[in-house]
């Protein structure tokens, strides 16, 4: 079967070229369906309990997706007539942003005050209002005493303020909606910055974050993929010294990427931050197949064998190991289907398909290309022989020190693994080169962080929020929340009611307290609701039945653990002080705070299944249960060690890292497969003892393993340069794990074999078609 395939490939290379070209083009056309979904919600599966809770809260109250214009005047004072007018204009313009449903700024803040029996409600900075020094002082005074505004909309020092736009995207076409909003937002930003030299406007908010997912991923792909191609070309030119081989490899990689992404498009997938890194990964993984085929072919040609025969030999020798390593790599990536986070499932599937395509292309298109292109080899000294030999000598002679030494070293690293902290702070998904991150950091330093928690409190009865007992507890809770060290701002109904009570009593400050009568509170709210203009109502705080309120806390940027512990404190507060009310805590930050834990739990079963499948495959390939079991150690240890080392480097494990163990499993297996199969070949067919077999294994695959590891590490290190931390961390830890795997395979596996494999091996009968051939 495969012999026939090879014969066809080598006899009719042009035919194969055309066939591959047609199929690749057909697949690639699907890429036109591949669009980027800029929405943080894609990270959550539909059944994710935090997402379900959040969506229901958003349906009861209003959605809270937002764009924050952070407006910073040149002279550091927002209370100037010019700047207040400017804020007014920006506020008016912000209403023109697509899907905007609410705009909040100090300019349109609905200031209420009393004048005898008149209740006056108007914009804090109204049109045509003379802004003399006394008016400016009054505005400053109102802002600085209004808890709704202070630290959220305007800073205490008065040097910066926000124009906050609430956006309700219909989510019919999220791919187009976010860019549509962002385009308009930037237009406003540019316009005002151009008209007012020195004025600075930074952009933050959930919508800007969503947009950054797409922009940073696309920017990444525009820089990282070319860099990675450069690395591959350079490595191959230096190490294998072949133009045709390098060129053909580049073609195989390009075809694999294009076809895999195209098929993803045909299957109706969206691109997301994580799955946008698929091309870089396929690129990295596809190189190995070609290197194996090329190096065997060159080895044969140097021995004077004709190109065609050398190629056929190489295909015969490499078919099984290349297939096996491709399948194990694909299984590792497919384990990501167990992830709770859909973008990682997509990433796993795209890369798995890409890896299998790369395998298919490297046994069809690749030899066909090599047949058509001129390939010459120079007689070269086999310089690296000495290098692998001395390593083999070192390992065999020092095995009694290496085995315990490496064991201690491995255990030591693994001991650090549990000390990693789970953390998903989505602001930090972006590095400081991303404008969204800069804006949000600035906002956190000068106003409030982007960590928010929405707390909905259900009184359990219609109109129950007017119950004085409920209001009292809500007031105490709001004050308690405000006094927490991490709190920047609390938006709560009780502030509004206190102010209304004061207004209703001729602005007497002693009435700045909660009404003590249910009817009074209900009627104040009715009055207030009846006096608010479009888009500034209480619908974002009260449900239609007035049985629930939503309190929104804004906090300094917190780690997931800190946020979860704050959430627990909130829940405990209610359990202790107000067990009669139903309380729900939600919000994007909390969703992310829980996702890593959920994802790691779900990934564990995926990794277990992948491990079983891969071990079975290895057992079959090596035709030995015992060696299948021995191989478990060098396959599992690298990921555990990698995470241990990660604790010493960073120590924060987020969503991106939670899939690394599954992903690397399939890759690190390759080294073990190559090493063990050569080892067993020597033991079974050359009657070598374990020491000699180790030396043989080093001699025949040491160099290839080193080159492929080098390429893989380079590839994932390129990914580690991503401005999207999720991908960068994933790339870095994967590179680290692969490097560790090579160290383990070179320094730990051989001594292990030499200690445990002392018995004489039974020579299997004549069936000599092991992996090694």
């Amino acid at each position: 079967m495969k012999e026939k395939l090879f014969a066809v490939v080598l006899r009719h290379p042009v035919l194969i070229l055309l066939a591959c070209l047609v199929l690749t083009v057909l697949a690639t056309v699907g890429g036109k369906n591949l669009v980027f979904k800029s929405d943080y919600r894609v990270f959550f599966s539909e059944e994710n309990p935090q997402l379900v809770a959040y969506e229901s809260i958003q349906n009861i109250f209003n959605k809270s997706d937002n764009v924050a214009f952070i407006v910073i005047p040149a002279d550091g004072d927002i209370y100037t007539p010019e700047h207040l007018q400017l804020l007014r204009q920006i506020t008016t313009d912000a209403w023109q942003i697509p899907y905007s449903t609410r705009v909040d700024s100090i300019a349109n803040y609905q200031h209420t005050w009393a004048e005898e029996d008149d209740m006056i409600v108007e914009d804090l900075v109204s049109e045509g209002q003379p802004l003399d020094p006394s008016a400016l002082d009054r505005i400053r005074e109102i802002v600085n005493t209004e808890p709704i505004l202070l630290n959220k909309i305007a800073s205490v020092k008065g040097q910066v303020s926000l124009v906050n736009v609430t956006v309700q995207m219909p989510m019919i076409d999220p791919v187009a909606e976010v860019p549509e909003v962002v385009a308009r937002v930037r237009e406003i930003q540019q316009k005002y910055m151009a008209e007012n030299p020195g004025l600075e406007i930074k952009l933050s908010g959930i919508v800007m974050m969503n947009n950054s997912f797409a922009e940073s991923a696309l920017k990444d792909n525009a820089t990282l993929i070319p860099i990675m191609f450069g690395v591959v070309v350079l490595t191959m030119l230096v190490l294998l010294r072949t133009f045709s081989g390098t060129f053909s490899t580049v073609i195989i990689i390009a075809a694999s990427i294009a076809a895999a992404m195209g098929l993803a498009g045909w299957s109706g997938m969206f691109l997301t931050g994580p799955s946008a890194s698929a091309p870089t990964m396929i690129l990295t993984l596809a190189v190995a197949d070609c290197i194996h085929i090329l190096s065997t072919m060159f080895y044969e040609m140097r021995r004077g064998i004709a190109k065609r025969d050398a190629l056929l030999d190489s295909l015969r020798i490499n078919f099984q190991p290349v297939m096996l390593t491709s399948v194990t790599t694909a299984i590792g990536f497919l384990s990501m289907n167990f992830s709770d986070s859909p973008p990682f499932r997509d990433l796993g599937n795209i890369v798995a398909v890409g890896v299998m395509l790369a395998f298919l292309f490297s046994i069809t298109l690749f030899p066909a290309l090599l047949m058509v292109l001129p390939v010459r080899v120079r007689k070269t000294r086999e310089e690296d022989r000495d290098w692998t030999r001395s390593l083999a000598a070192f390992v065999t002679s020092k095995r009694r020190i290496l085995l315990p030494g490496m064991s201690v070293f491995m255990l030591l690293l693994i001991a650090f693994l549990p000390m990693n902290q789970l953390n998903d702070d989505f602001v930090k998904y972006f590095d400081t080169s991303v404008p969204f991150r800069q804006a949000t950091d600035y906002m956190q330093d000068n106003l409030s962080g982007m960590t928010m928690m929405e707390i909905s409190i259900d009184s359990g009865e219609s109109s129950g929020i007017n119950d004085p007992a409920f209001l009292k507890k809500l007031g105490v809770f709001s004050d308690w929340l405000r006094s927490q060290p991490e709190t920047d701002h609390v938006s709560t109904l009780t502030d509004t009611l206190r102010r209304l009570n004061k207004n209703m009593h001729g602005d007497d400050q002693s009435y700045y307290r909660l009404p003590e009568d249910r009817e009074l509170s209900a009627q104040y709210l009715l009055l207030y609701e009846m006096s608010l203009p479009y888009g500034l109502d209480l619908n974002n705080q009260l449900n239609v039945d007035k049985s629930s309120v939503r309190v929104v806390g804004t906090f300094k940027n917190l780690t997931s653990n800190e946020l979860v512990s704050l959430e627990e404190r909130v829940q405990n507060w209610f359990a202790r002080n107000a067990p009669e009310y139903q309380v729900q805590t939600t919000g994007p930050n909390l969703m992310f705070a829980h996702i890593s834990q959920r994802n790691i739990k779900s990934m564990l079963s995926g990794i277990a299944l992948a491990l079983v499948l891969i071990s079975l495959l290895l057992g079959f390939a090596l035709r030995s249960v015992r060696f299948g079991l021995i191989s478990l150690l060098p396959n599992l240890a690298p990921a555990a060690m990698g995470f241990g080392l990660w604790y010493l480097i960073d120590g924060q494990v987020g969503l991106g890292l939670s899939v690394v163990a599954g992903m690397t499993l399939g890759i690190v297996v390759d080294d073990t497969v190559h090493f063990l199969s050569k080892y067993l070949y020597a033991r079974r067919h050359r009657d070598a003892d374990s020491v000699a077999a180790v030396q043989y294994a080093f001699g025949s695959v040491g160099r290839a393993l080193w080159i492929t590891t080098f390429v893989l590490v380079c590839g994932f290190m390129v990914l580690a340069q991503s401005s999207f931390k999720l991908n960068a961390d994933m790339g870095f830890l994967t590179a680290l794990t692969i490097l560790i795997a090579l160290v383990v395979d070179f320094l730990f596996l051989p001594p292990l074999l030499m200690v445990f494999d002392k018995t004489k091996i039974e020579t299997p009968a004549t069936t000599s078609q092991g992996v090694e051939r």
Binding site: D117, M119, E122, S463, L520, Q523, E529, Y534
Partner: protein
Amino acid sequence: MNLTKSFYLLLSLTIFSGPVLAQTPEERGLEIAREVKQRDFGWADMQAEMLMVLRNKQGEESVREIRIKSLEQEGDGDKSLTIFDKPLDVKGTAFLSFSHPLEADDQWLYLPALKRVKRISSRNKSGPFMGSEFAYEDLSSFEIEKYSYKYIRDESCEGGTCFVVEQYPVDKDSGYTRRVAWIDQDQYRVWKVEFYDRKNSLLKTLNFKGYQQYLDKYWRADLQQMINHQTGKSTDLKWSGYQFRVGLNDSDFNKNTLKRAR
């Protein structure tokens, strides 16, 4: 025979009085608005009960019960008195409004818990009425000068054949750039209105159902359904107990007697 005759008549009219009939769409729209107002003029005063059902996207529902009295005004917006019966904690609250086509309305609210009448001074025409999807400007009386008009097309509708007319609010405090109204050609009743927000995207749709005629002249719908397309919320207004010409006068719409409104 008769048909052919009228056809020729129509044809000759079209040809000979062409310049006279050639209305601009704006003039046509204004003419329709005048006819609407003219057909609904003269009811003097009325009162009715209203059930307001609010729904959010999650399907939660909330009901309010209100009584409304109105006094027709010539040359200005109508005067209206709204008395709240439910929810119980706002029972007895009374809202008096003198609406004005182009300026802010005069509004007073009597709060029984405080036993005070408060005048509300705000630009809240665009704001929601009692947390519903209806804005004040959706509920106040139809006055010709509130909008400029443009006739768009004829279209079949629930009431037969409708004029489709665009209405552009004159008051800059309005929450809309335009409204599109479907008005039947037979009785000049409004069957549907689409509301476009300040950035000219579709915000709400209002449907009128169950029209009934009172005093052999005035048509009132039993049900008004408003859907907000942007938030997924909706509000139904269910009207009942319409009474016309019950003898209300200015003294019933007076802030000094607001306390006694029942």
